[in-house]
């Protein structure tokens, strides 16, 4: 018995930490300067899945779609307890909007032999759309429960879930398989375990190994590099340290629904916020200044 859980993860720029260094001369944000982090609510989704597995048995598979750099967050999943990771990495998936992304994720999840529960963070901090969860559920043809707080009951093929709807809560009952979008308030994510960090810090996808070989042997012949690549991969395989990397062919995705072509929404225009200095009246932080301000506000009837 037990439950096979899938957790969808996104690596995001840390939009909450926009400091001086991340600003360009013209007052706009230098996106490249922002550190890439584990999307916060996806950590709660991972924790919810790990909790189910620890309690009922089963597996936790962490999945992401993105550039190879996103393997960092997948390794973090291994450190925290995930059993398996998969990255969907394909140039043809670039420029996917939420709909195309959920289609590709659904193809990847359908490639798995079995799944019972899919966990997503409610939303990612770079877009704040909260759309991929519900769209993925629809693409998988399963029910969704958004704003997950906790399982009231998880028994056999039935789940009772408490969801927080902002101005209150509800308990809903649904049959598995089921997709849940998890709130930041749902739990406290466990930290990476030192033992697992030691074990999995060398875990790599095949293309990452290739990249590392190329960097380590810049002058070697292609054949030499390939031999080294094969050797390193074999060593990783023996230790169960090869992370899955899939492309769109592997998940049998129909390209008309992927990437730019598969995305109904198009970005028409992007305006960086320029922090202009418009005129405001500066009030000195003194008794006199503040009294004068309050007086002004009372005179123009803003106060009182």
């Amino acid at each position: 018995m037990g439950y096979d859980c899938v957790v969808c993860i996104k690596q995001v720029p840390d939009t909450a930490r926009i400091t001086g260094e991340a600003m360009k001369e013209d007052g706009t944000v230098n996106r490249a300067a922002l550190p890439a982090i584990f999307n916060p609510e996806d950590l709660n989704a991972l924790e919810a899945a790990l909790h189910v597995r620890d309690r009922h048995g089963g597996t936790v598979t962490a999945m992401t779609m993105g550039p190879l750099n996103a393997c960092e967050v997948l390794r973090d999943c291994l450190f925290r307890g995930a059993d398996r990771t998969i990255i969907i990495n394909d140039r043809r998936a670039a420029a996917s909007d939420t709909l195309a992304t959920s289609y590709i994720l659904s193809r990847a999840i359908r490639t798995l032999p079995r799944y019972d529960l899919v966990f997503c963070g409610r939303q990612a901090i770079d877009g704040d759309t909260a759309q991929v969860g519900p769209q993925l559920a629809e693409k998988l043809g399963i029910a969704q429960v958004t704003y997950f707080e906790r399982f009231v009951e998880l028994d056999g093929r039935t789940a009772r879930v408490r969801r927080n709807v902002g101005n209150g809560w509800e308990v809903v009952e649904a049959r598995l398989p089921l997709l849940l979008t998890v709130l930041g308030s749902a739990n406290t994510p466990r930290p990476p375990s030192a033992r697992r960090v030691m074990r999995y810090k060398r875990a790599r996808t095949e293309p990452e190994v290739g990249k590392e070989v190329a960097e380590a042997m810049p002058k070697a012949s292609e054949q030499k590099r390939e031999e080294e690549w094969a050797r390193r991969l074999e060593a990783l395989k023996m230790n169960g340290l090869v992370m899955d990397q899939w492309d769109l062919d592997h998940v049998e995705a129909d390209l008309q629904w992927c990437g730019w072509a598969g995305s109904p929404t198009k970005v028409h225009r992007v305006q960086s916020i320029v922090l202009t200095k418009e005129g405001y009246t500066e009030i000195p932080p003194t008794e006199e200044g503040v009294h004068q301000l309050i007086h002004e506000l009372i005179v123009d009837r803003t106060l009182g």
């Binding site: 709909l99 704040d128 730019w260 225009r269 305006q271």
Partner: protein
């Protein structure tokens, strides 16, 4: 998806709970009315529920030409699947060109499900909607009169305009309070069209077992003055100053996302794109740096006072009065000054 349909109506999903319309639906009716007039088409609201026909008249008063009303006991309380079935069926039948939803807990659950099923585009949390042209350089096509869906993104550091050129309907969710609520005209006439949608077992597979609603205790939207604290307040203890100042001027307490995330105050106080949008007579921002997401929720306030130690903080760009200084010193002076006047 449906093909672009230039004669298609502009729709609003009319959200109701416990037979009460969510005000955001009326705000959206006002916006949808304006968009429909610009396009020269009809505007309609979709109202699913159980025994809520009466609510149609308010939707008509706020601009709807038609209300598609669905009465079914299965629709009494919101559940994703039957509501999504209703929207998809009606969209396929009537082919509206635009469908807008409130970006509420319900709207943000429903709209993406519908968009996925219709294979149509959806933009979340718009702060403005306009009609305009889109010159697609990639396919060299000029799309006229599209819905321009405008929203902050990337932590509020950019404003993106999103379009949905050919996989219609064009859909968007819009934050509560972003569109000004126009007064309704009870003399407006409109037509209530009763619709019926059949549900299958899957649609009804999720059961609502228990439901609890708390009345909104924090009335940010109705407040004439708001004193809001941000990450710069520094601690939950320091946040008492914010409460105190609000108490003295009879205002409500607001907060930025940073303050909420740091646990200084509950989420129900959050002002901004992912909180409540407010437009009070006076907004006092204390220790709030002023990310665009926050500013989007308060910049329409009639008067804004910003208190911040950082002269470069973006909040000063929207402020009418700026005090560069430590809020722990400035607020007590302010309290004293107000008390002296009272």
């Amino acid at each position: 998806m449906i093909e672009p349909n230039r004669k298609g109506e502009v729709w609003v999903f009319a959200e109701q709970e416990d037979q009460t319309l969510n005000e955001v639906s009326l705000e959206l009716c006002g916006k949808a009315r304006a968009l429909a007039d610009q396009l020269g088409v009809k505007m309609a609201a979709v109202l699913p529920g159980c025994n809520v026909r009466e609510l149609s008249y308010r939707l008509i008063a706020h601009g709807a030409d038609y209300v598609y009303y669905l009465h079914d006991p299965q629709l009494e309380s919101y559940r994703t699947l039957p509501y999504a079935r209703v929207l998809c069926r009606l969209i396929s039948k009537h082919k509206p060109q635009i469908v807008i939803y409130g970006a509420t807990a319900i709207g943000r659950d429903l709209a993406p499900r519908v968009a996925s099923q219709m294979r149509a585009g959806l933009t979340a949390d718009c702060t403005d909607l306009q009609i305009g042209d889109f010159d697609d350089t990639r396919s060299k096509t000029l799309h006229k009169n599209l819905l321009l869906q405008i929203r902050p993104a990337f932590g509020g550091n950019i404003i993106a305009t999103i379009v949905n050129p050919d996989r219609w309907p064009q859909m968007a969710t819009v934050r509560e309070g972003v569109m000004a609520m126009k007064p309704g005209d009870p003399r407006r006439s409109g037509e209530i069209i009763e619709e019926k949608v059949e549900f299958d077992d899957f649609d009804l597979a999720v059961r609502l077992i228990e439901r609890h609603r708390e009345p909104r205790q924090v009335n940010l939207k109705g407040a004439r003055t708001i004193v809001a604290g941000g990450g710069g307040v520094g601690s939950k203890e320091n946040f008492r100053l914010i409460h105190e100042l609000a108490g003295v001027i009879g205002g409500a307490v607001g907060a930025s996302r940073a303050a909420v995330d740091s646990g200084y105050i509950g989420k129900e106080h959050q002002v901004g794109q992912t909180g409540t949008t407010v437009r009070p007579a006076l907004y006092i921002a204390c220790g709030i740096s002023g990310a665009v997401q926050h500013r989007a929720g308060m910049e329409e306030s009639a008067k804004i006072i910003a208190i911040n130690t950082d002269r470069e903080a973006p909040i000063f760009a929207v402020a009418h009065y700026g005090i560069v200084g430590d809020l722990n010193k400035v607020i007590p002076i302010m309290i004293k000054a107000i008390r002296a006047r009272a």
